[in-house]
Amino acid sequence: MRGRRLGPWPFIAPALAYTALFFAIPFVVMAVVSLWTLSGTALDMTPGFGNYIRFFTTESFFKAIRNSLEVTALVTIVSVVLAYPMAWILAEKVPVRWQRMALILAILPFWTSYVVRSYAWLLVLAEKGVINSWLMGLGLLNEPVQMANTRFATVLGFAHFFVMLLTLTIYANLKQLSPNYRRAAADLGANGIQTFIHVILPLTLPGIMVGAFLTFVLAIGDYITPQILGGSNELLMPQLIMLQILRKPDFPMASALSIILMIVVSIAYLACARWLKLERA
């Protein structure tokens, strides 16, 4: 006798219900709350775009999204530029039987706690930190250089995390390439550099774009790294959002800022997706 089949719903309903209940509905609630306004301590529930208008007309608010975009773009570029040669060396120069080991080693600090990793960079960059102490010990510096609490520190902290991530993804990408492409290029008389620029790089470009997009999305939404390493001298978007609820809780403004951040990421996604498609066509 054939067992009676249940159909798909008993299996997919729990996950769908969960996502609807704890992801979709909170999102709708946030969108609704973003249309309210908080004046003083009174919550005005008349829907309106007051928070959004305030964001775009207040220089100190609008600056946060500009800072975020600048920092994230810089992080993405620096990370790809540093990670690509590393991935290439691991894939091409390291003997095959050592590659797995080298790769595991290259992403080992990934397994430290994220909060602790940012803090560890603070120890390196602080006024009395390792780098300043070394340089002053060597007599190269007379007084410490300020590196902590700067944009430089934020970018460096982010780059540390994403160089590991991108080395991994670009390495996987390079290993998937058939060696025949290289042979064909060599047969047609291309030298190493020509092969790289005209064959290897274009073939790995979609993978790089995926990695770069991942870097962008993860970095632009992160609060920890800019808060620990960048400090409060210049605020990034996640810091501005957290400020709204840490001082005197202004949930409507925090909601509006969250929605704006989401829209920015969505625009980046659309731009990226289109670009990727064009590349493949």
């Binding site: 067992g3 992801f23 609630v29 990793r117 590991m164």
Partner: protein
């Protein structure tokens, strides 16, 4: 010419390795610091900061809380993700593309925004901040991941074996527990383990949704607020060491076996 490029490659790799390991080494070295601040000059080695961590009741409670939240939320994520993957892989679902899109949608939204949405919703509903709320949030971020991993591993060859079991009289539940789950064991394990690490290390959702009883990353954050302290180095080094042991165990058991 070849020599020079090889030398450059070695130099570059060493430079990147240096960059990657610099903060971790500094962290670990100054966890053995003898004085009050974890910056040069180093005057150790001393184990007193590890002692300070071990005698810190709040820190130990936080480790327990983190482990509990990670275990339960990962279990729920893996089970829900597995069921959904089975449903979508083995049945034609009307509007399946959209529904799958809904399940994986949280992957593209930052943890901060997910946490903020939950905080605002729970506040309006009068649900208090708690570890349970954090667990709910961690399932939101890990469920799509589990679903995607397990769904990608459900091949047609598995479907044939399931069909055979069904022809022999197995019920849907029997197929799922006795046939499908054992066949997909590596994917289930990978999902569970990844969820564990993400939940264990997650800060912002836990920060937003807890007040007094909290998880380890939030407790570390609170510790950092009082400035640089070798105690933070010590707890950071302990977390790193635990992770390394776990990764090594998984590398040696699961992936070695699967490669064979």
């Amino acid at each position: 010419m070849r020599r020079a490029s090889d030398m450059a490659a070695v130099a570059y790799a060493l430079l990147i390795f240096g960059f990657i390991f610099l903060p971790v080494i500094v962290l670990a070295v100054f966890s053995f610091q003898g004085s009050q601040i974890p910056v040069p000059p180093f005057n150790g080695p001393s184990l007193k900061w590890y002692g300070a961590v071990l005698s810190d009741g709040r820190m130990l409670t936080a480790i327990g809380n983190s482990t509990l939240v990670a275990l339960i939320s990962s279990l729920v994520s893996t089970v829900l993700g597995f069921l959904a993957a089975y449903g979508f892989a083995r049945h034609a679902v009307p509007g399946g593309g959209w529904l799958k899109g809904l399940i994986v949608a949280p992957l593209s939204v930052s943890y901060l925004i997910i946490g903020m949405g939950l905080l605002i919703t729970f506040t309006r509903l009068g649900i208090p901040k708690s570890l349970f709320a954090v667990g709910l949030g961690h399932v939101v971020i890990n469920l799509p991941l589990c679903f995607a991993i397990i769904y990608s591993q459900m091949g047609e060859h598995h479907a044939n074996i399931e069909r055979a079991a069904r022809d022999l009289g197995a019920s849907d539940v029997q197929v799922l527990t006795l046939i499908t789950a054992p066949m997909l064991w590596p994917a289930l394990f990978a999902s569970f383990f990844l969820s564990m690490t993400f939940s264990w290390d997650e800060f912002i959702i836990a920060f937003l949704l807890t007040r007094f009883e909290t998880t380890l990353p939030v407790e570390i954050w609170t510790l950092l607020r009082s400035g640089l302290s070798p105690k933070a180095n010590a707890i950071g080094t302990v977390v790193f060491a635990i992770s390394i042991v776990l990764v090594a165990v998984i590398e040696l058991t699961v992936f070695r076996k699967r490669a064979r």
